[in-house]
Symmetry: C2
Subunit: 358 residues, 2 copies
């Protein structure tokens, strides 16, 4: 991802300490501050800037304004041998996400597969935060969440679905997991905001105006199109439906269209989002050496494919692994307005801010 | 779907009897013939002509030529409390699919969630055959399968992934389940064949020629693009990767790129495909009345959305439910060349063929 020359660049651990401290000062308990920091710093470190530190000012705002419970009492109930439910008590979705995937990993080690649904939650950042956590422990994981209405349904004109992300990660022998993380919209809402922040053009066929007509003017954008655009948008919309059923009907939460928005005037009412996590233990299916060999063969065959000029065929997550490698040296780019918010708050709290690497 | 005026139209039960009898005469045992017939007739009845009776001549061919074992000994092994493995013994994928989902339903009733992977299998027709079977018994189901290389990877130029379909079905109170069934390619290969059979144009941005360049000439088509086309194809390709890991690494089968093709010169070697089935018991997550209400609210809000002129916003599976309603009266349209194959075989076996309704 290209960044504006106005970005500051911060060493990963220094930025991590700052984010965690700001969250604590704004009212998050230790567990919540650590969970949010872990998710956003991991996203930013892997180049997923849409779900990284640019979200921190928002998270601090909803903590101040009361939407988020900074000291939630998470309640886990096991409801069947391989199923659990986690009540997030209107805390940060990140805390609930890490807690839920930990339970799912534990149950899947015992039963081969397990699912945990989460209710009374909030925005959980990058869905890959949780699938990667499970995959690094040797398990395959799926994570989905609904969100409020920003995507028009296929053949529709007004927003109905959320970007309803889906993440999937599979462990690989001696390397970072294969990692899928995608919005079921044609583009992620946060990516649009990032394109705007970095003054880059909006591609055709991904956003619609208030009349449901295609546009490339972000100023006219009232909705996103589903993955597949006008022609094949029934597929993206169908995936959004799948995510919605798992995130609401299995969590007891209302579906996304009836939720209040992430942005908007009301920052004090809890949003009561739902998430859904599934974990599979590969060694319950095949000997682990067979699994490891098959995944390794697949990824190596995929990477060896011929590419269009100037590109390389990559496996899901390869780009993020490369970016992580690079950012360990060059630091995390933080857009200038995000940095202004963070330093303003740091100054108010008397927290020291690290110097930019550039 | 529009049909050529040359189509014959056959009453559903009459066509079903013919298909089943032809499969038996060609060497399928009762269980195999019934399973294949159930899947293809259901697909055709629901308007999913790509995965319906047009596949029967192919299925008969691979039975004759020895690729398919017409009398397989399916072997199910429970490998963990909520996980099983089914060896399909190189029989029809349809038989294995129905058997696998039955085991998954049984285990999910006990554990809340269950997964069954299938190895040594073959083409299983419409993935929705199996998710619908589970959903009609009140359970949520996911089914995926890999297949041989026809889809170019993102930024690639040559086929690598299969169309790697994903189906999902969720039960609804007092009506047919919500049903998602999509290829992770920009278009299904069988749909292209159907467009060709019915002389309809190929949309832009879904197929590529032998150099990996976009084309709309079916004659030049060497590959499909992933869902999302050139711009967002990383998403379709990532979904294909997810399907591939579940279908090969969890089944012990090689990944799709290393499998022999569905079409091609070799019709006698078993293809050794893998499938993966997951079943969730809604009542293990929330009281069933809560689940039913939430799904009903979601579908009714979705259907009430304003639509582009001349259309209606539909829930996944609505189109198929409407088509089923209609075809119960008007029968199933069978393309003239499919019908020629079937009648030729029927005549060879001395099997009577039903008369066309038109």
């Amino acid at each position: 991802m290209t960044h504006s020359e106005q970005d500051v660049r911060l060493e990963i651990s220094a930025l991590s300490r700052l984010v965690c401290e700001l969250l604590r000062r704004a009212g998050a308990d230790d567990a919540s501050a650590v969970a949010v920091t872990r998710s956003v710093i991991e996203a930013s470190s892997r180049g997923v800037d849409t779900h990284g530190v640019i979200l921190v000012p928002h998270y601090l705002k909803v903590l101040f304004s009361g939407r988020i419970n900074g000291s939630p009492r998470l309640r886990f109930t096991q409801r069947a041998a391989a199923v659990g439910y986690l009540d997030a008590d209107n805390g940060f979705g990140h805390l609930a996400g890490y807690e839920a995937i930990t339970h799912a990993v534990r149950l899947a080690r015992r039963c081969g597969v397990a699912a945990v649904s989460v209710g009374n939650s909030s925005h959980f950042g990058a869905a890959a935060s949780y699938t990667l956590a499970a995959a690094r422990e040797g398990l395959i994981a799926l994570a989905v969440s609904h969100s409020d209405a920003v995507v028009i349904p296929h053949d529709g004109v007004r927003p109905f679905h959320g970007t309803n992300p889906l993440a999937f990660a599979a462990p690989m022998r001696n390397r970072e997991p294969l990692s899928v993380d995608l919005a079921t919209s044609a583009i992620a809402w946060n990516r649009l905001l990032l394109l705007k922040q970095t003054s880059r053009p909006i591609p055709a066929g991904v956003i619609a105006d208030a009349d449901g007509m295609d546009t490339t003017e972000l100023g006219n954008a009232a909705a996103l199109l589903p993955l597949g655009g006008r022609g094949q948008g029934h597929k993206g919309a169908a995936l959004a439906s799948m995510v919605e059923i798992l995130s609401s009907a299995l969590t007891g939460m209302m579906h996304g269209y009836r939720l209040i928005g992430m942005e908007g005037l009301d920052m004090s009412t809890p949003r009561r989002l739902g998430h859904f996590f599934l974990v599979l233990n590969p060694s319950a299916f095949v000997p682990i050496a067979v699994y490891d060999d098959l995944v390794a063969n697949y990824v190596s065959d995929l990477r060896a494919q011929p590419a269009i000029s100037g590109s390389a065929v990559m496996a899901p997550g390869d780009k993020e692994i490369n970016e992580l490698e690079q950012r360990r040296g060059t630091g995390i780019p933080v857009p200038i307005d995000t940095w202004a918010s963070l330093t303003e708050l740091a100054s108010r709290f008397g927290v020291e801010t690290p110097a930019s690497l550039v």
